[in-house]
Structure formats: structure tokens, C-alpha cells
Symmetry: C2
Subunit: 326 residues, 2 copies
């Protein structure tokens, strides 16, 4: 069996695994914290170690394995063709020739793609959007990204930068976003934005037990803390989750009115909130989008928790090398 | 030469013309006011008269002409496959079997498509988006619609209702829209919305000479009145046009961040405002969208004034009948 090594470089975790060419198996899934503060050389060194380990393990698991190439997913903006990471605030990388570095270290044909594209491509290939012609995916974490599948192919746009769903304006005069703009959905529904809205409410006097989850240090509140407190019934946390659902619902409704897709997949930690998120989200979508488009569209959490990016990086390799046909 | 009769049914005008199969010529362009208040039978009767006249004129102009089919563009929502106009508030039609009626009256193979799809398809085939792989079009009139071209093909979505750009939320808690929702771009930048914002400002005490354009009857102010007054230097009208540019700029920036297209075409009467609209619109887009996507994207007015829908209806016929290949 031929395999592609999928590499998913995130701001929080590095994930590596071997994906069978036909998508039927994922072996040797390895992961470790990115720790970008240790510098780019450290990240790359540990990543290469992880990759070699995964390659060895793959052959141990399937003695007939042949690893034919490497697909890398990284945060952008990228120059995909030249294999360069132009700028990644979360990693602190500028003009990093990532493709060459991976290729030189591992000696196999390598491709590079946007991490959000990879996650959505993975969910389309082997996850929640399997079998769909037209699918939209949101990736929600430190930032909000996205990917578009039309006619069973990843859509990349005129200059490889389609899918910046996080920077769709949903409130013309709204909150300031990290991108410098106002009212982007990322300023409301990314992980840090979720935490920030909760902390702001507490600082304005709202009652909440959130502080007790972080030893009183509100600077330590994360989206995860908010979900935990919501799970325990904290009223403010529940309200923040409901508002998040409303904002995401606006973003999803916009996409449904624009694209009329068969499925919208929501990927990322935010899906941990489960029905507490999805029930009000679907309600907001039904309120805002057109019925003939809503009625044909599933809105679902990603299925490939922790591995969508690896599957998608491998699939992107196959697509870029012309090894799959629609 | 083989021709397709293109029919564009608008709330204001009926337009008909014969388009050469290769798009190289448009003959016998005829138009008359729709006058929907005279009832559906009257509209259809006059439309069929116009169509027959165009067919006769086509053969008069090109004695070798063969008219092989009819493409109809109509406001939706439609059931394209069955050829039925499900509901058009502007015409007052419900479940109108338009395709059968046209086919029975004229005796030629007929297809039906959404009017906004047709306008954008026309601009892509023979107008401002000619030669592009990835194009987005806004149609701005009584409502706001849109169309998407990916890989040189019209994208229709999972159930033929992609392209509802007018109902993308740009202000989560904003103005109420005719669709029942809040903050849709249509509630800010459609023709009636432009007029309404001007009238509201006057009613709240803003100085303006707008009333003098309509014999003091503010109920008669239209978007056209606002453009005329802006042209004459009326401050309030200029402000309304600038705000319109801002709202449209948000809508266009959203599309650029999502799709990374080569061109965004703005169709409809709003383009009459010219640079007074496009200069601040492009400025707003540059402020809101990502530079690598903005830098590859032209934002231009439609070129086929009064005929985009006819060209596009003919092209849609060719596409639906499998007579063109990408």
C-alpha cells in the first residue's frame, strides 16, 4: 500500500500521520505541542523527528508500506507554488521556505497547503462532508478560517487565498479584529474572542463562577474554561456560548445564502460545546437564511477530531500532484 | 448562423433579443415596460408579442438566421428543472409554469434560469468579466442578487439557489429587510433602500434639495433621484451615495475574502453614479479585504447595460442543453 505522510502545523500542536493513498487508513498518528516560543529551528527539528518516527512506525505497522510523498498544512498566508510561509503571527514565521526545508530533511516529494483548506479537505475526503459535491467548512481556533469544496474539488481562488471566512464582516461598526478591521466574525467567535467576551462581561460586573476555574486570574480564561463553566451551569458562560452560536449562525447563514451547499462543517474546539452550541446555531441559521437553501443543508461538527488536517494535507498532496481525479 | 432568443423578465422592463450561438452578435433587441399591475396574462401576452417581433426582425437582419431555442431569465425563487416561477413579489406571480407557457406559445426548446444568474453569466460571456475563470457579480435594483462563476462555469449550488448576495448579513442588529431578517445588505443598498435612507434623513431634519426633484412629494424619491441630486452637488444625496458605497464595499470585501475572484462586476442602475460610487467603494474594499486578494481583483461596473440578462439567458440555454463545453 502507498501512503502519504500528512503534516499539520498548528499554533498549539504539531500532528503527523501516514494516510493510505485511498484514504482507507491512517497510521502512526503522532502529536506534540508546537511551543513556537522556542523558535522556528526548534519547531522544525522536533517536527522532522516526529515525521521520521511516523515513517518508521508506518512500516512497522504495514511492512508493505511505501511512503510516496509528504503533504504539509500550515497557517497562512502562503505562497503555495513556491512552498513559502509568508507570515504566521501565531508561529512568528516570516518568509519561511517550509517546503524546501521539509523536502531536504526527509527526501520525499512535498507539497504545501493552507491549514484550513487541509482541515476542510480532510473532512470532505474522510469525515463529515464525505460524498458531498458542494461543502463549506469553518475552522475555529485561535483564528477562524475556512475552505470551499465545489463539485468535489477544493476551490482555491484566483491567487490561492480563498476561504478567509473569519474576516467576513457581520457587524459593519462592530468589534475591532486582529486584522485591523471592524466587525469580522473572528472578533466574536474565535477561541480568544469567546474568552474575551466572557472576561469583559465579568469586568463589567456580571455574576459568574468563571474566575474560580482559573484561580481568580481572569487572564487565564480560555474558550475551554467558558465551555467547562457552561457545562457546570454557569449563567454567564451559558450566555457567552449562546451568543457565540448566534454569531456563528450569522456566518453560516451568510454562507448558505451565498453557496447553497449540501453541508457546512464546523471544525475546532468550539464543537466541544455540543448541542449547547449547535441547537441555537441552527435556530439562528433558520431565522436568517432562505428556506430552500436551509432545508437541503446539514450543519454538523467535524468528525476527524485531531486528524482532519493530516488527512487533508495528504489529500492536498494527491490533488497537487495530479494523483486523484474528480 | 444559429441564434438563441434571450428573454429577460424584470419587474420594470421586459427585454428580448436574439444572440448568436457564439456570442458574436445580438440582434433585434426589443424592450417594453413590464407593467405587472396589468396582470400575469397581460405581461405574458405582450412578452410573446415582443418575442415574435424579435424573431421576425432577426431573420430580416440575417436572412440565414436559424433560431434554435429560447432562454428565459426571471426573478426567483424558481424551480428551474420544472420551469416554474415559484414566487415573485415584484410581479405578483405564484407557481407560474413559465417554461411551458413560453414553449407552447413559441414552439421552440426553452430553458428557465434566475435573472441574476443570467445577468452575471452575460457579463462573463460577453461583458466585464469576459475571459475570467473566477468571477462574482452583484445585480442591484429593486432587490440585490448575485451570481458566481467558478472555473468558467455558473455555480448553482446544491438546490439551484446559490447567489442570494442581497441577504448576506452585514450588520447583525441592523435595518429590517423585506425578507424578514435584520441587517441584510439589500436593506441598505438596493434602489428602494437608497431612496428610503435619503427620505429618512430629510424627515429627521437634514437639509437637502431632493424634494424639489419630485415636486415636494418625498414618496416619489427613487435611487435615480438621489443620483441626480448627487450629480448636482446636493450634500445629503452625496452622503447617501457615499454610504451606499460603504455598504456595497463591505459586501464586495466579504466576497473577496471568501472567494478571491479575479473580478467583481456590479450590475444595475446604481452604477450610474460612476466614480462617485466606485472610488469610495474600492477604498472600503481595500480597508476591509486582504491585500493578496484585493490586489488581483478588479471591481467594475457591468458593460452590457440593458442586455446582460438577454445574453445570459441565451448562454444559460446553451449550458443547460449541453451545447457549450468549458
Amino acid at each position: 500500500m502507498r501512503y502519504i505522510l500528512g503534516i499539520d502545523i498548528g499554533g498549539t500542536n504539531l500532528v503527523v500521520g501516514s494516510v493510505a493513498e485511498d484514504g482507507s487508513a491512517l497510521h502512526a498518528l503522532h502529536s506534540e505541542p508546537t511551543q513556537p516560543e522556542r523558535g522556528a529551528e526548534s519547531v522544525l527539528e522536533r517536527l522532522m523527528h516526529l515525521a521520521r518516527q511516523a515513517m518508521v512506525d508506518t512500516v512497522r505497522i504495514d511492512p508493505g508500506a511505501e511512503i510516496v510523498g509528504i503533504g504539509v498544512g500550515a497557517p497562512g498566508p502562503l505562497d503555495t507554488k513556491r512552498g513559502i510561509v509568508l507570515l504566521t503571527p501565531n508561529l512568528g514565521w516570516v518568509n519561511m521556505p517550509l517546503l524546501d526545508k521539509v523536502h531536504d530533511a526527509l527526501g520525499l516529494p512535498t507539497t504545501l497547503d493552507n491549514d484550513a483548506n487541509c482541515a476542510v479537505l480532510g473532512e470532505w475526503w474522510r469525515g463529515a462532508a464525505r460524498g458531498c459535491q458542494h461543502a463549506i467548512g469553518f475552522t475555529i481556533g485561535t483564528g477562524i478560517g475556512g475552505g470551499l469544496i465545489f463539485g468535489g474539488r477544493l476551490y482555491r481562488g484566483a491567487s490561492d487565498c480563498a476561504g478567509e471566512f473569519g474576516h467576513v464582516t457581520i457587524d459593519a461598526n462592530g468589534r475591532r479584529c486582529n486584522c485591523g478591521n471592524y466587525g469580522c466574525i473572528e472578533a466574536y467567535a474565535s477561541g480568544p474572542a469567546i474568552a474575551r467576551r466572557a472576561v469583559e462581561a465579568i469586568e463589567s460586573g456580571s455574576e459568574s463562577r468563571l474566575a474560580s476555574y482559573v484561580n481568580g486570574d481572569l487572564g487565564q480564561v480560555s474558550a475551554q474554561t467558558v465551555y467547562d463553566a457552561a457545562h457546570d451551569g454557569d449563567e454567564l458562560a451559558l450566555e457567552v456560548v449562546r451568543d457565540t452560536a448566534k454569531y456563528l449562525g450569522i456566518g453560516v447563514a451568510n454562507m448558505i445564502n451565498i453557496f447553497n451547499p449540501e453541508v457546512v462543517v464546523i471544525c475546532g474546539g468550539v464543537t466541544l460545546a455540543g448541542d449547547r452550541l449547535f441547537t441555537p446555531l441552527r435556530r439562528e441559521v433558520a431565522r436568517r437564511a432562505f428556506k430552500p437553501a436551509v432545508s437541503v443543508c446539514r450543519i454538523v461538527p467535524g468528525e476527524l477530531i485531531g486528524s482532519a488536517g493530516v488527512y487533508g494535507a495528504a489529500r492536498s498532496f494527491l490533488e497537487q500532484r495530479g494523483l486523484v481525479h474528480a
